[in-house]
């Protein structure tokens, strides 16, 4: 079994329901995120468009975070999930430095690394990840990539030619796919980040949760 995610960006309307569901389900502390929806505005007035991209851990097949972890706190589950054992973690932040997708954070309460686990605890009880359940337009498709009859496999087959992953050049082989993605949505260097010009906040960076 190889669990994977696919987000259809044609469907996502940026409601952030998944983001909130994840926060609540996993008790993600303030100032940290496992899943977030990024808005990027494209074009010049009046030809403008707003894009929405949910971003979470990709559960890479060749995960740099797992490789760099000195104590195997980050490890693979049999279903392909890259999981974390917070008891084991020594807080070296090597994984935060290694993940090319900025998917890991240091939990300010436990002082250990944390990230999206595809809701491994819910999967163990045969439930869908919280974000999948919360999405009002079913933009999140979750399932077994090894099973050709699963929804996600069928979606990938159906959309062949328009399925992307983030930063394929890194060789991480993400198990997280996008349909309808592009450079602007998936490449962080393809858009400006202007200090203090966000819709609802003016903070561009926050100190890493912890004692530094």
């Amino acid at each position: 079994m190889q669990l994977g995610f696919l987000v259809d960006l044609h469907l996502c309307m940026g409601c952030k329901g998944c983001e909130i569901a994840c926060k609540v389900e996993n008790e993600v502390p303030l100032s940290t995120w496992r899943l977030r929806v990024k808005y990027v505005d494209v074009g010049s007035f009046p030809e403008t468009r707003r894009t929405f991209t949910p971003l979470r851990c990709n559960h890479c097949e060749n995960a740099p975070c797992e490789k760099i972890c000195p104590v195997s706190a980050l490890h693979y589950l049999e279903n392909g999930i890259v999981n974390i054992d917070k008891e084991r973690c020594i807080g070296c932040a090597g994984c935060v430095m290694a993940c090319p997708y900025g998917a890991i954070y240091i939990d300010p309460q436990t002082q250990t690394a944390d990230k999206c686990t595809y809701c491994a605890h819910r999967i163990a009880s045969s439930m869908m990840p919280a974000c999948v359940v919360a999405c009002p337009v079913q933009a999140n498709i979750f399932g077994d990539l090894d099973d050709p009859t699963s929804n996600i496999s069928k979606y990938i087959q159906h959309n062949q030619g328009n399925v992307q992953v983030r930063k394929p050049e890194k060789g991480t082989n993400p198990h997280h796919y996008y349909v309808g993605g592009g450079n602007v949505t998936l490449n962080p260097l393809a858009s400006h980040r202007v200090d203090g010009h966000q819709l609802f906040n003016k903070i561009t960076t926050l100190p890493v949760g912890g004692h530094h």
């Binding site: 995120w33 977030r36 990024k38 808005y39 990027v40 505005d41 494209v42 074009g43 707003r50 740099p64 490789k67 760099i68 972890c69 000195p70 104590v71 195997s72 084991r88 973690c89 020594i90 807080g91 070296c92 932040a93 090597g94 935060v96 430095m97 290694a98 993940c99 090319p100 997708y101 900025g102 998917a103 954070y105 240091i106 002082q111 250990t112 983030r166 890194k170 060789g171 991480t172 450079n183 602007v184 962080p188 260097l189 393809a190 858009s191 400006h192 980040r193 202007v194 010009h197 966000q198 819709l199 609802f200 903070i203 561009t204 960076t205 926050l206 890493v208 912890g210 004692h211 530094h212």
Partner: protein
């Protein structure tokens, strides 16, 4: 930020996102790298001096070992201080994950410390120079991977395109040679004759030159290969936030020491050599710090 034609074509602007994380590995990691360079560097230099100037270097066996022990402990202390869970450090020894350069490095550094104490015992308690020199050969061999493993660790950071193993490992070795020779020039005092110090000056000057060439190569040619490297190097170009610190580091660690070493050879001045050594040690901290921080400024997602 590097000029991307994409931006002009699409005028893409992030309008809503979470705050990005700040610096993950801060100045504590700079001290870690800087102190380790000195700790292994002086061992390399002792080995060199005992071969090239055995008379002069004989009395430096114990003092050099002590300096190495001190700086390796500074390195270990700051490594520990950088952990968010320092009291769980022992997990590295009980749950080791051998694909991680952190694990391999921690094990090697521990063995290195053990061998340094053995050297101290042989020189101070047993006063057995032959046994010391035999053991020193093994310590030097171990000092090479201990010097290099941080380069491996940086290269395992897939997110930080700037840090590539071939360049970083060369930079780690040059940093150890630079800081080791500088520390020995200062440590040698009246015990080392001028000829021995001249040898150290040559090592210092050449390693400064090689490091400088590598940084300049990355500065000029790095952006031609990878978009991320181009974006990261923008932080040390023009009015980038680390431009001043970068060039201060290059001048203080490399260019001024090179000039001063030439000057000290023409004027046969030990004081000028000492000044070059002090500048190299101070400048190395700046150089290492800039290179550590700039890839962390780039948004990853």
């Amino acid at each position: 930020m590097a000029a991307h034609e994409i931006l002009a074509a699409t005028n893409a602007v992030v309008t809503l996102d979470v705050a990005l994380p700040g610096i993950v590995w801060p100045w504590l990691v700079t001290v870690n790298m800087w102190a380790k360079s000195i700790g292994t560097g002086v061992i390399f230099m002792l080995f060199l001096l005992l071969r090239k100037h055995p008379e002069a270097a004989g009395s430096l066996r114990f003092p050099t070992t002590v300096v190495s022990i001190i700086f390796i402990h500074i390195f270990l202390l700051f490594t520990l201080a950088d952990l968010h869970q320092p009291f769980k450090m022992w997990h590295i020894f009980f749950y080791p994950h051998l694909t991680s350069a952190i694990t391999v490095g921690a094990w090697m550094a521990t063995a290195f410390v053990g061998l340094l104490f053995l050297l101290a015992f042989l020189s101070f308690i047993k006063k057995d120079n032959a046994a010391f020199d035999k053991t020193l050969t093994w310590v030097v061999i171990l000092a090479i991977p201990v010097t290099l493993y941080t380069a491996g660790l940086m290269s395992q950071c897939t997110a930080r395109e700037l840090w590539q193993m071939p360049t970083e490992s060369a930079q780690m070795i040059f940093a150890a040679l630079l800081s080791g020779s500088a520390a020995m020039i200062l440590l040698g005092g009246s015990k080392l004759d001028y000829e021995a110090k001249k040898t150290l000056g040559v090592v210092l000057g050449l390693s400064a030159m090689m490091s400088f060439i590598l940084y300049m190569s990355e500065y000029v040619f790095g952006p031609m290969k990878a978009e991320e490297v181009a974006a990261v190097l923008e932080y040390i170009k023009g009015d980038g936030p680390y431009t001043v610190m970068f060039w201060l580091g290059q001048w203080i660690a490399y260019l001024l020491p090179m000039l001063l070493i030439v000057l000290s050879r023409t004027s046969k001045s030990e004081n000028i050599l000492k000044l070059a050594a002090i500048l190299a040690l101070a400048g190395l901290w700046l150089v290492k710090h800039v290179w550590l921080i700039i890839p962390q400024l780039l948004p990853m997602s």
